[in-house]
């Protein structure tokens, strides 16, 4: 529970009130407990998530074993595959095994790729994380910037152009935007590559973090870095577009609202410059609701990466999940859902902690 402090009750102003604790004393007191409670809650939610995903996967019509075996399989072959994947046991037992496997880091085996799902995820996850992180940073930074500009230059041509983009930005389908940009920038004008993480002739950098951008920088490999940058640019722009628009809209609205508040008038009256008021005193207040939107949009981005990876041939778990879903291969889809679900939960925790950082009135219960 996040609670907001009310000001202390008015009493005789005896000036003998106790000094308040310093910032860190104040925060750490509730914060550790809050984080622990949240992790527990996350565990419960995660469990629920696995139940939902498991039920979904078993609701499927058709026999996955038969599918995996192929059209010319004999009954025996189907039986063998069925046993191999444990598909012949009662549901509850299957779920129990599944959970036990999860705890050990075993997500099962993909019928399609024949690998351990965990290995597949390890291969594909870094690409997705790299893309999503770049996108959310882009969306946050530019979104806040555009929101502030839009508010400061309200009703001028800057505002109108920005508002046009933010209004349409939320409505545009990501996959279509990706295709259009691909068409224009890559196919027609050859400014940027069409897809993939690197040109096929370029070797990936040494795998340290598996984020090509970081790894190539760290190993001093400039050519690979710029190649990776060129490849990630378009997908990141497309993935961040709706989020950028939303963040800009709410930041604009909040800035306009905050700029009317009394304390801004006071700061102006005391001689503080307009620039400082906007970028420090007003912005920090406006960021609080904006942070909510950032968290929300991050979740949408995790879903949107599915189509963006498809369009740009990005070797991430979104693409992996789609391939598995189309193939009726459940283990990977379940695993990806769990992984990205967990990712989103952690992001929400970070958002809640962020409130505490921005707003001193917030208390963690």
């Amino acid at each position: 529970m996040i609670e907001v402090d009310r000001p202390p009750r008015e009493g005789p102003d005896s000036c003998r009130e106790a000094a308040p604790p310093s910032f860190f004393q104040r925060k750490k007191k509730g914060m550790k407990r809050f984080i622990i409670k949240r992790f527990l809650l996350m565990g419960v939610t995660l469990l629920g998530l696995t139940i939902v995903v498991f039920i979904v996967s078993r609701v499927a019509p058709g026999d996955p074993a038969r599918l995996a075996a192929g059209p010319d399989a004999t009954e025996e072959m189907v039986q063998v595959i069925s046993k191999e994947f444990g598909l012949d046991q009662p549901l509850v037992i299957q779920y129990g095994k599944y959970i036990r496997g999860l705890v050990q880091g075993n997500f099962g085996r993909s019928i399609r790729t024949r690998h351990e799902v965990w290995d597949d995820i390890k291969t594909f996850l870094p690409a997705t994380i790299e893309l999503v992180l770049i996108s959310i940073c882009l969306a946050t930074f530019l979104g806040i910037l555009f929101g502030v500009l839009s508010a400061v230059y309200r009703d001028t041509w800057i505002d109108h152009i920005l508002r046009f983009f933010t209004v349409t930005g939320v409505a545009v389908p990501m996959f279509w935007l990706g295709i259009m940009l691909q068409l224009l920038l890559a196919a027609k004008f050859h400014f940027l590559p069409i897809g993939g993480r690197l040109d096929t002739i370029v070797t990936p950098p040494e795998a340290i973090t598996r984020f090509f951008l970081i790894d190539s920088l760290v190993t001093g490999n400039g050519k690979v870095f710029f190649n990776a940058l060129a490849h990630i640019l378009l997908p990141a722009v497309v993935l961040s577009f709706p989020a950028l628009a939303s963040i800009a809209r709410i930041n604009r609205a909040e800035m306009l609202e905050v700029l009317h508040r009394d304390f801004i008038l006071n700061e102006k009256a005391q001689g503080i410059s307009k620039g400082l008021i906007i970028r420090k005193y007003a912005l920090k207040n406006a960021l609080i609701p904006t942070l909510t939107m950032i968290g929300l949009r991050y979740g949408w981005m995790l879903g949107g990466t599915i189509v963006v990876e498809m369009v740009f041939d990005w070797p991430g778990i979104g693409n992996y999940a789609v391939a598995a879903a189309v193939y009726s291969d459940f283990q990977p889809v379940m695993a990806v859902t769990v992984v990205l679900g967990l990712n989103f939960m952690i992001a929400n925790l970070l958002v809640d902690l962020g409130y505490g950082y921005l707003d001193p009135r917030v208390r963690y219960e």
Binding site: D5, R6, P7, P8, R9, E10, G11, P12, D13, C15, R16, E17, A19, P20, S22, F23, R261, D262, F263, L265, N266, E267, K268, A269, Q270, G271, I272, S273, L276, K280, Y281, K284, N285, I288, L358, D359, P360, R361
Partner: protein, 329 residues
């Protein structure tokens, strides 16, 4: 002796949904050097707008300065551009607001806000102080000590919501006085506080003003508050100054029917006899104000002339000005 601040025939209009409100109808006000002047009136009479107009804090699209001058240091503040105002706000003329909860930024520490005020250069104004942040921090603690906040080195790291109302008001005062302004404007500084705290804050303001010699314009709807601190009082009604004289004079010998009505309503109540009497009627609609003297619909001694001709300020005794047709030149 030339006054330190002089407002001449200030007229301000406000665009509203229902029309144009003529909120200030030709204000004449002079603040003497080292003087304490109180501006008193009902809610909506325009006193707060007058204060904000001096520092050009009014939002200019809905508001509009139609005509008039505000003379300070041989400059007409109405005419000078916004960039120059930066070196006056906080530096030469400072303001203390009411309701300290909403006038302090809730997400920054007191220290941060005070330091930024101290460091605000004012575009290289006459008193351009080049301070380091460290120096400013030290000065901020001193300021808190001056306004009698205990353990200022510790308390300065707090946030506004951790202070009580009285303490926050002290912080606002400290902020306003931080750069030793020549003029201090206090806009209803005690209205949001409990009565006991009010007394403390007023005493504090009194001490500080005496010690540092600021000239003070104190705005309030509470005659008692103004009487306690100010040597002179100007009474305002519906955008006009109706009476302007020393405090003693105002209570002993009020000339204007409105002032008389105000005092009457206080005094009958304090005598605990019968009911509190009030002035009949309500404040006028500033979009369609009454012609002539704006008080005439409520005035017990209104004459024919009051309905058509606006009364001009007249010095009925030395240092005592009234705007009323009952006192012809």
């Amino acid at each position: 002796m030339t006054p330190i601040l002089e407002i001449r025939d200030l007229r301000i209009e406000f665009d509203t949904f229902e029309g144009v409100a003529r909120v200030l109808d030709g204000i004449d006000l002079a603040l003497g050097k080292g003087d304490t002047l109180g501006l008193v009136g009902e809610t909506g009479c325009g006193k707060s707008i007058t204060a904000k107009a001096i520092l050009k804090l009014l939002p200019i699209p809905p508001a509009r300065i139609v005509s008039g001058q505000i003379w300070f240091e041989e400059m007409d503040l109405v005419q000078i551009p916004e960039e120059k105002m930066g070196s006056i706000r906080g530096e030469k003329i400072a303001m203390v607001f009411q309701d300290p909860m909403t006038f302090l930024n809730p997400v920054f520490t007191i220290e941060e806000q005070l330091v930024d005020v101290l460091l605000a250069q004012g575009n290289g104004g006459a008193s351009a102080r080049k301070r380091s942040r460290e120096e400013a921090r030290g000065k901020a603690v001193d300021l808190l000590r001056e306004v009698k906040i205990p353990q200022p080195e510790l308390r300065i790291k707090s946030y506004p919501h951790e202070f009580s109302g009285g303490m926050r008001q002290r912080v606002l005062i400290a902020m306003a006085l931080s750069k030793s302004p020549r003029i201090l404007i206090a806009d209803e500084p005690t209205t949001a506080l409990d009565v006991t705290i009010q007394a403390q804050i007023l005493r504090l303001m009194d001490e500080l003003v005496r010690e540092h010699g600021h000239s003070v314009l104190l705005i309030s709807h509470d005659l008692g508050v103004v009487a306690r601190v100010c040597r002179r009082i100007a009474v305002m009604y519906a955008g006009n100054i109706v009476e302007n004289c020393s405090t003693g004079r105002l209570f002993q010998k009020p000339y204007h029917p409105y002032t008389q009505g105000l005092l009457h309503s206080i005094l009958t109540f304090s005598k605990r006899r019968g009911r509190a009497e009030s002035i009949q009627g309500t404040i006028p609609d500033l979009i369609h104000p009454p012609p002539g003297c704006r008080f005439h619909p409520r005035c017990p001694s209104a004459m024919e002339r009051c309905r058509s001709e606006k009364p001009l300020p007249l010095e009925v005794e030395e240092g005592h000005w009234v705007s009323c047709h009952r006192y012809p030149s």
